[in-house]
Amino acid sequence: MLAQQIVNGLMLGAIYMLVAVAFTLAIGVLNFLNFSLPGLFMVGGMLAFGLMKAGWPFLLAAAGALAAAAFASLLVERFAYRPMQGGDPEVPLVSSLGFLVLLENLMLIQYGSDQQAFPALLPDLNLRLGGLVIGIAQLISLALSLGLVAFLSWYLSSTAAGRRIRTVAENRETAQLLGIDISRLVPQLFVASALLAALAGILFAVNYQQVSPFMGEGVGFKGVAAMIVGGMGSIWGAVLGGLVIGLAEVLSISLIGADVVNISVYGLLLLILIVRPQGLVGRAASREKL
């Protein structure tokens, strides 16, 4: 029983983890709390659903949804991020939330506000080990997520492109003075984080066989929480955070009850932040040199 719940928690955590990494790319690198990401997550799931309903095969539908999310993200970059440069870091929050509302309402107009059933791709393909039920689809998505994250982490820390990205993260203007082509690098990052979020949305739809125009909100907030628990800007922190949040959620439901799940999950987040303001693996900001 407990073993099953831990498996359930890890599977849930895998979804949070991808969203958290998408947020990490946006805020850790671009210093942009991109609230359109939950919307792009939703676009991933919802559009994959819509295209399959229109008769497309799954892989094609997924590719279409990813492409749409990438395109939407480029619009976010153009209209929410680019004009806000040099302002307070909170400001882009407004228009990125505007994008979230927009995407949700567009999907709502197209497909209705109902939760819809996403067709089962691998019907009832479950690994049964003793009493343990592990969904193959979930296992595949966990592996896929971890692989992607590992690649990203290597890319950012060890390549010249990664250095350029970190330069933009620290100071856009300086990056420009150093001849970094921001007008290409930044949109690329937006596309990358959109692809992660949308992929998470597709995996979510496949795993839980449901989509809805509002599916991004709950997961989005948990994703931000996961990123913060792990420590902002650290990709492996986001992974750890995602798993911690997933486990905390499932275990508190099964051990105490769903009415305390918000108290325990967010209480844990609060506690972690108070004890370690920089997150689990984040480095404490040292006092700046004058």
Partner: protein, 367 residues
């Protein structure tokens, strides 16, 4: 010649949109039918509409608009329990009747003389569902409850109604699991239910929760009968469960297959919703309820001899209220309706999912 103005609070946007956006078609249909037959007391009914988005604050604004600006005689709606909680006190102060089509939380009309609901208390509904299950000699040797904790109605079903009914029908309870409305991952809860292995699970939840739990039950290979009240009564539910949820049994206050009148209504409704480009073309219980609300008000206005004269507005509003409260065995679309303590008393249709479709198991009158 004045029209008889009714205010109508719609929830055409916001969280209830998929349940509520077809209501307008039903209201328009009822008004058209009545006006075609010559209206009430020789006057036509006119409906003024306001989209509240299911938000209590906007519902209050709607109520003030109807009462103070539009000269409404009575109000159709509001939709949700939260809206009812804020608009009933204002309606009481303004002296104008309201009748909700969807709010089914316990005790909402208590203490209000102008507040009505054309809905049935979930306790009464589930009582009839269990009675039907017992009558049909279906297995019910042990039970458990599953409910959403952050929704008033669902929670009271899970924590109050189901335990009480299990006691009434002598069903030993194996326990309860709960979840959040927004939860998509019900694997922990179902893992617990699997251990309990009950014959029936009393479900307090909106349709989404029912879909999710039915699917997860299927995934984890658990077979049990889910039973529930009107909160799950979505005509589309069997399709949305996509093969899961066989034997799910619920009570509702409307079923299109009952008689010619309901079939006729469903057909006309389908025509109009299709023409309006709406996603759902099958009427749900709220559509039927709101359709009947127009008729109930019409009956009350007729009895009260309402003229729509602006000078007599306050008196006529009070008269409508008094007549609604006194309605007995009114032959409505949903069946025979009477009012007791502000709430409608009407038949309960017990439905079961069979072969991926709703089928009528039994029709019962709450006692």
């Amino acid at each position: 010649e004045e029209d008889l103005v009714l205010g109508y609070m719609m929830a055409k946007s916001g969280p209830y949109v998929s349940l509520a956006n077809t209501n307008e078609v039903a209201v328009d249909l009822a008004v058209e039918e009545i006006n075609k037959k010559g209206g009430i007391n020789g006057r036509k009914i006119k409906v003024v509409k306001f989209d509240t988005a299911g938000d209590p604050k906007q519902a209050t604004t709607a109520l003030r608009t109807f009462a103070q600006d539009a000269g409404a005689l009575a109000i159709i709606g509001p939709f949700s329990s939260s809206e009812v909680r804020t608009t009933f006190p204002v309606g009481e102060r303004e002296g104008i009747a309201q009748m909700s089509m969807a709010s089914s939380a316990p005790g909402l009309t208590k203490g209000f003389t102008y507040g009505f609901r054309n809905t049935t208390d979930e306790g009464k509904v589930i009582d009839q569902v269990l009675a039907a299950v017992k009558d049909k000699k279906l297995p019910m040797a042990s039970g458990a409850a599953a409910y959403a904790t952050d929704d008033v109605v669902s929670k009271s079903i899970g924590t109050v109604v189901v335990p009480k009914m299990f006691e009434k029908y002598a069903i030993p309870s194996k326990g309860a699991v709960d979840f959040q409305l927004a939860a998509f991952d019900l694997s922990p809860q179902v893992a617990q239910l699997k251990q309990m292995a009950p014959d029936i699970v009393g479900l307090g939840s909106p349709p989404e929760g029912a879909v999710n739990i039915a699917k997860e039950l299927k995934r984890q290979g658990v077979s049990t009968r889910l039973i529930g009240g009107t909160t799950i009564a979505d005509p589309e539910l069997p399709r949305r469960m996509d093969g899961a949820g066989e034997t799910l049994t619920i009570g509702t206050t409307f079923f299109p297959e009952v008689n010619d009148r309901t079939k006729g209504f469903a057909a006309e409704f389908a025509k109009r919703t299709k023409a309006a480009g709406l996603a759902r073309t099958e009427p749900n219980q709220m559509d039927a309820s709101v359709y009947d609300i127009v008729y109930l008000y019409a009956a009350a206005m007729e009895k009260a001899g309402v003229t729509g004269d602006k000078a007599k507005l306050a008196a006529e509003r009070a008269a409508i209220r008094d007549q609604v409260a006194k309605l007995k065995d009114y032959p409505a679309l949903e069946g025979s309706i009477s009012f007791a303590d502000g709430d409608a008393v009407k038949p309960v249709y017990v439905l079961e999912v069979k072969g991926g479709k709703w089928t009528l198991l039994d029709t019962r009158m709450p006692n």
